[in-house]
């Protein structure tokens, strides 16, 4: 397009453009989808088509199984957003800065194929709890979990907040983490794009150049600093250049193992209770 035609195009589209958005940055934000057909019931055939479309279109960012790659884990979004919610995100794209483009050009038929396939992922990580959540709450209360963990506004804050844990962790992960917490440290908040997704709650032992020794779990780290919290809850902000030795203590955690403290039934009940938290997020 030459300059004249380009300017003409700009002029002709100005009204529509202004109606579309102001300020200009909203152009890359989510756009509400126009009226579209009703949510179709998935069939084996449509799920297979959706799978093929997903693998060709979405898997590069969201992983082949939806568990995330460069983009976030989207397993469980069926429950979170519902079909119309997923349709809106695919149609209009993710939030500004999320990097997810709008796929409105797929057309509603293919968007629905994707909606149904993505919804079929089910729970993050898959699997269903077999225990009794009500009894699991009793186990939770009796085992001192709330000394370190918060649910709602109740409990301590040295461990992860569990208010929504059922919506973000699989049953298998919760089960394994109770038996061997050090080997199943959770990843840090994936929404913090500036930080790589490294395990939180990793235990460190640091020897400072003045001989002082600090042991604690990692709250944050970059190339020059390390933030630890010790067993007493004390924060330590460490300049790495002032340390003579920085050592990771693998498979260690402040959280004790419940391997020999709970029966299998109690463990399953506790997992079922945790899995029920935030399941409707």
């Amino acid at each position: 397009m030459n300059a004249h035609h380009r300017l003409l195009w700009i002029a002709l589209s100005a009204l529509a453009f202004l109606a579309w958005t102001s300020p200009i940055s909203a152009q890359i934000g989510p756009a509400a989808p126009p009226p579209h057909s009703a949510h179709p019931t998935p069939t084996p055939q449509s799920l297979a088509e959706g799978k093929a479309l997903f693998e060709g279109t979405c898997a590069g960012c969201h992983g082949i199984d939806g568990s995330g790659a460069n983009g976030p884990n989207i397993r469980g979004v069926g429950k979170d957003l519902g079909p119309e919610g997923i349709y809106s995100v695919i149609y209009g794209g993710g939030a500004i800065g999320s990097g997810m483009p709008a796929f409105s050009s797929l057309g509603e038929q293919k968007i629905w194929l994707l909606v149904n396939y993505v919804s079929s992922f089910g729970e993050p990580g898959g699997g269903a709890a077999t225990g009794d959540p009500a009894k699991g709450k009793e186990v939770y209360d009796a085992s001192g979990c709330s000394n370190c963990h918060m649910i709602g506004s109740q409990g301590g804050d040295s461990g992860p907040d569990l208010s929504q844990i059922g919506g973000v962790r699989s049953v298998g992960f919760l089960h394994d983490a109770l038996l061997d917490p050090g080997a199943n440290l959770p990843q840090s908040d994936a929404s913090l794009q500036e930080r790589t997704s490294y395990p939180s709650y990793t235990m460190y032992r640091v020897v400072m150049k003045d001989g002082k020794v600090i042991e604690g779990m990692r709250l944050d780290e970059d190339s020059f600093t390390l933030q630890l919290r010790d067993a007493k809850g004390q924060l330590h902000s460490i300049n790495k250049l002032d340390a003579s030795k920085i050592e990771v203590l693998p498979d260690k955690s402040f959280m004790p193992s419940y391997k020999d403290k709970l029966t299998e039934t109690q463990l399953n009940d506790l997992v079922a209770y945790l899995a029920s938290l935030g399941a409707g997020r």
Binding site: M1, T57, A69
Partner: protein, 542 residues
């Protein structure tokens, strides 16, 4: 007591300073080709994306050096008016910094204060297509009195450097067919060179030259041959028609031989190469192009029949250095596929190559530089762990080269990924059926890290490294003050000793630096710029 001769010299310097000062304060905005050509002797400005035509990101400025860098302080901060992924490397000319805000806004800043002088935003369609890339912009080009920007919806726009007024606009490609551009154009003598992106949308890649005065297209070079052309046999069936090989990052230019050096992206679909058997020329290659005609002089393919998304879009670096005691004209590239390459830039002949990061896909390189591939290095339906990950050992960020140390500084990523093979779902020129043909699940955790690696420019041998926590997306700048500037994923902008890698200074900027830093000089003072989060930070000595 000063002699008469010394007084005259001092007067001369004072006059020169006055002339330079008044020139800057008057905002002349007239950057001739000759000035860009001799940018090494004009280090107070930063006139091209790569700092000079050789794309070395080396500055002769040395006021800030290994002794005093610890005293660097923030002088001003500019906060973007348009939020998003900010990856812009500014141009600085005659007292003005031209920075681009996502998705395509050009802002001219008073380089002394950071105050905006003018701002221009590209009008974009509501159904903008950005497939396989972030809607961002990495910078502008400048020539004479005009600033050139390539828009995310694939137009080349010429703006008056003084006012931001549009002089002309040319369409580079159809965004409705997924052509999208994030790169800074390259201005050479009377021409604006620009490539394109969007290779996951079923495209055939190309690179264009436009007349700097009126924007008409002078030539187009397709990066995939068509029927009857040599190389088309490296694509099975008609897969050449939509095989990608885009040209999405800024290249280098050798004025002596009038040759452009430009990298190409992956063949499409990415992770499933079943329907495109063959080497898939000229994807994942470095192209040497006659700047007058657009004819390809030679090519060198880093990753034949690529299936891991390892584009060769990293900016190549032109250097002159001794090989076996003889001065040679070289082009070097730390590739996304984890190998560092040294080529003769006149012939494209392979001279040396070596892995600079962990890789598990090739045994090494043969005498011609072709990878000797290992078995089982392909994506599978169940996932196959291969190093590096799809973002590669380096991605779009620039490496730098110091002629003082003879080292190339690479912001390296160490990370593997499980590669999955899916269905290609690729149709010719049809963005509605974009096809990646699979995907990856990157290995996360502390095992994934970044490092600044200093490589011998002529061999690729590692001299030192500075390890970083997290996934750095910054690129390096090196100066005659023997400093390498870069940043980690955690928001630390820092300076290293270019000879040893020793950290000498760092500052926490509160967000990651996703853009190549630059340096320049105003009123006799050297400044260093870094773009962190959605802000431009500028530093100098007190």
């Amino acid at each position: 007591m000063k002699t008469s001769r010394q007084r005259w010299i001092l007067c001369g310097f004072a006059l020169l300073a006055l002339v330079l000062g008044s020139r800057a304060q008057s905002w002349a905005q007239d950057v001739t080709y000759d000035e860009i050509l001799h940018s090494a002797s004009h280090p107070q400005d930063w006139l091209t994306y790569g700092g000079n035509y050789a794309s070395q990101r080396f500055s002769e400025l040395k006021q800030v050096n290994t002794e005093n860098v610890k005293d660097l302080k923030i002088q001003w901060v500019y906060q973007l008016k348009h939020q998003g992924i900010f990856e812009s490397s500014p141009i600085v000319a005659d007292g003005i910094m031209y920075v681009t805000e996502p998705p395509t806004t050009v802002t001219a800043l008073d380089v002394r204060t950071g105050k905006p002088i003018w701002r221009w935003s590209a009008p974009l369609p509501p159904n903008l297509l950005t497939i396989g890339l972030f809607p961002t912009n990495r910078g502008v080009a400048i020539l004479d009195d005009t600033v050139y920007v390539a828009t995310i919806d694939a137009h080349l726009v010429a703006l008056d450097a003084k006012t931001g007024a549009v002089k002309w606009t040319s369409e580079i490609g159809k965004n409705s067919q997924s052509v999208a551009i994030t790169q800074a154009p390259l201005a050479i003598d009377g021409k604006i060179i620009v490539g394109m992106g969007g290779g996951e949308g079923g495209l055939r890649g190309y690179i264009d030259a436009y007349d700097a005065k009126d924007g008409h297209r002078l030539w187009r070079l397709y990066t995939i041959p068509t029927t009857g052309e040599p190389g088309v046999e490296t694509w099975e069936g008609d897969s050449y028609k939509y095989g990608g090989a885009t040209t999405w990052n800024t290249g280098a230019y050798d004025p002596e031989t009038n040759t452009l050096f430009w990298g190409t992206g992956n063949p499409a679909p990415d992770w499933n190469g079943d329907a495109r058997k063959g080497d898939n020329l000229y994807s994942c290659s470095l192209l040497a192009i006659d700047a007058d005609t657009g004819k390809m002089k030679w090519y060198f393919q880093f990753s034949p029949h690529e299936t891991h998304d390892w584009d060769a879009a990293e900016p190549p670096i032109l250097i002159d250095a001794k090989i076996d005691g003889k001065m040679r004209k070289l082009v070097v590239q730390a590739d996304r596929n984890a190998f560092y390459y040294v080529l003769d830039r006149e012939t494209g002949k392979f001279i040396a190559g070596k892995a600079y990061a962990k890789q598990t896909w090739a045994q090494g390189l043969d005498a011609n530089g072709r990878p000797i591939e290992l078995p089982n290095n392909q994506p599978t339906t169940k996932g196959n762990l291969i190093y590096p990950s799809i973002t590669g050992s380096v991605n779009w960020t620039s490496s730098s080269y110091s002629p003082l140390t003879g080292l190339v500084y690479v912001d390296t990523r160490e990370q593997g990924a499980y590669y999955f093979k899916g269905h290609p779902e690729m149709e010719p020129n049809n963005p509605h059926d974009i096809g990646g043909g699979g995907g990856q699940k990157a290995v996360l955790g502390d095992a994934a890290y970044s490092a600044i690696r200093a490589l011998d420019a002529t061999t690729g041998e590692r001299k030192w490294q500075f390890k970083m926590v997290g996934d750095s997306w910054t690129g390096t700048l090196v100066t005659a003050g023997n400093l390498v500037f870069c940043a980690d994923a955690g928001g630390n902008f820092f300076a290293l000793n270019a000879e040893t890698g020793e950290p000498l200074w760092h500052i926490q900027l509160g967000n990651s630096v996703r853009a190549n830093p630059i340096t320049y000089e105003v009123d006799g003072k050297q400044y260093v710029e870094a773009a962190a989060g959605n802000s431009v930070f500028v530093f100098s000595l007190p």
